[in-house]
Symmetry: C2
Subunit: 268 residues, 2 copies
């Protein structure tokens, strides 16, 4: 069983792609809707919240967890791998946690040698996690970043198709351009695939892949290399959990998945 964790419901864009590419596994999705959004929270808070989420998912029977949240990956993944896993499962543990930043950085670094842009929450951008991973792939890559913190609330409030999101997006991309020309753009937040068409229209000469597809493909590869995490099922099921039944979570979930789902509430 594979766990998919996000600060809220944005990670459903990642889960959707994973289910498409690996349809024969059981999944548990957990969204920390009591603390969403993570974008501006401290490193300490994000580590604490993410480790509690991992406790829950491992206890439910997951052996592999995908941190679908960029902010959690940027600020907590390394420490979880170094501290949390050995503390919980010993040094020869089988359970593992993977993030979304490395696969996307690897993919984009291979496909593009021009300048690479990254947009994301303030937390993701300030962490420089994408810069580090891209430079690990190719030291000579030029990377420019721009925090775009208003895109998440605009998308969550249903303004994804509005003119206003166009003008705010344009303002952010102008700031990015000021920092240097880019040939590829990384969407460093799980919400942004919902406005990928708008972003591609404003950056027509840019390579802008869907990060959910890359993460799903990379996970597929990982499972082939690590069959111990595979658990093929004839009738796989996906369970959904949130930490709070927030006012409009049903509409948001449907917006991300294009279908109705049953969601359970859990206290971490």
């Amino acid at each position: 069983m594979i766990g998919v964790f996000d600060s809220g419901l944005g990670g459903l864009t990642v889960l959707k792609e994973i289910e498409k590419q690996i349809p024969d596994e059981d999944y548990i999705y957990l969204g920390d809707t009591l603390h969403v959004p993570y974008g501006n929270r401290s490193d300490e808070a994000i580590y604490d919240l993410t480790s509690k989420a991992c406790d829950f998912l491992f206890t439910k029977g997951c052996s592999l967890i995908i941190l679908a949240c960029n902010t959690a990956t940027a600020k907590a993944l390394r420490r979880l791998q170094q501290e949390y896993l050995p503390n919980h499962f010993g040094s020869d543990h089988k359970n593992n946690i993977l993030g979304v930043i490395r696969p996307v950085a690897e993919y984009v670094a291979q496909k593009s040698s021009g300048g690479i842009g990254v947009i994301g929450t303030r937390g993701t951008i300030n962490s420089e996690a994408y810069v580090v991973e891209l430079k690990n792939q190719n030291e000579s890559l030029r990377v420019v970043q721009q925090a775009t913190p208003l895109l998440v609330p605009l998308i969550e409030e249903g303004w994804a198709k509005s003119v206003e999101i166009d003008t705010i997006l344009a303002k952010y991309l102008k700031e990015l351009d000021k920092r240097g020309k880019v040939k590829a753009l990384i969407l460093g937040c799980t919400h942004y695939p919902l406005i990928i068409d708008k972003i591609r229209v404003q950056k027509p000469d840019c390579f802008i892949p869907n990060p959910g597809e890359i993460v799903a493909h990379s996970l597929h590869d990982y499972l082939l290399r690590h069959p111990e995490y595979q658990n093929k099922k004839n009738k796989p099921i996906t369970e959904y959990y949130v930490t709070d039944f927030s006012e409009n979570f049903n509409e948001i979930a449907e917006q991300f998945l294009n279908k109705k789902i049953n969601i359970n509430k859990v206290a971490l």
Copy 2:
């Protein structure tokens, strides 16, 4: 000592007015920055979080707490007064909790007999707390509401003076107008006083008071009627607490108070 609680730092607009009108008291400000924003969270979550905040403020020595947060007032105040206070302090308790909705509703109901508009978070609007309080004052009042959930992130991200907030505000106010003509407008969220000039420009014929001033005036009256909560000091102090040192909390705090402050972190 008087406690002032808000989901985040927006309540500093209320504290600032209270300190202006009642300068000789000690205050403790608590912002639940680990869970901000409350606007879309469930009733249950808001009650739990607010009761923990009250635990903290009473334990620190406050005898009176102002819920500066409209969403917390709308969704938790009555239950806190009915369940929390008797459970914690017995039926003849002296400690008390006050909200921001009743004083503003009373004031506006006295000043305006035409249609009254209310803007606020989705939680505040859906609770109908302002509608109930206004009707309690004058059953014949006509009240129309509009949730304006994007205003908080726009203000917190420093877009309070932007053209984009004008267009989004105009869209919200147009929706409000469709529901009926209003002669007075209640700013049902602690962040909105930061854009009161913009709102007044877009609604020039409307009576739009600053809710912080009304709450401070009402608290002043309350203290005169209840001297047991008074604690006049020659050198009063204000302490500030948050539940998370979020990425940009210092800039936000300065934006609200126009001064630098020392903030402490606390776990509730």
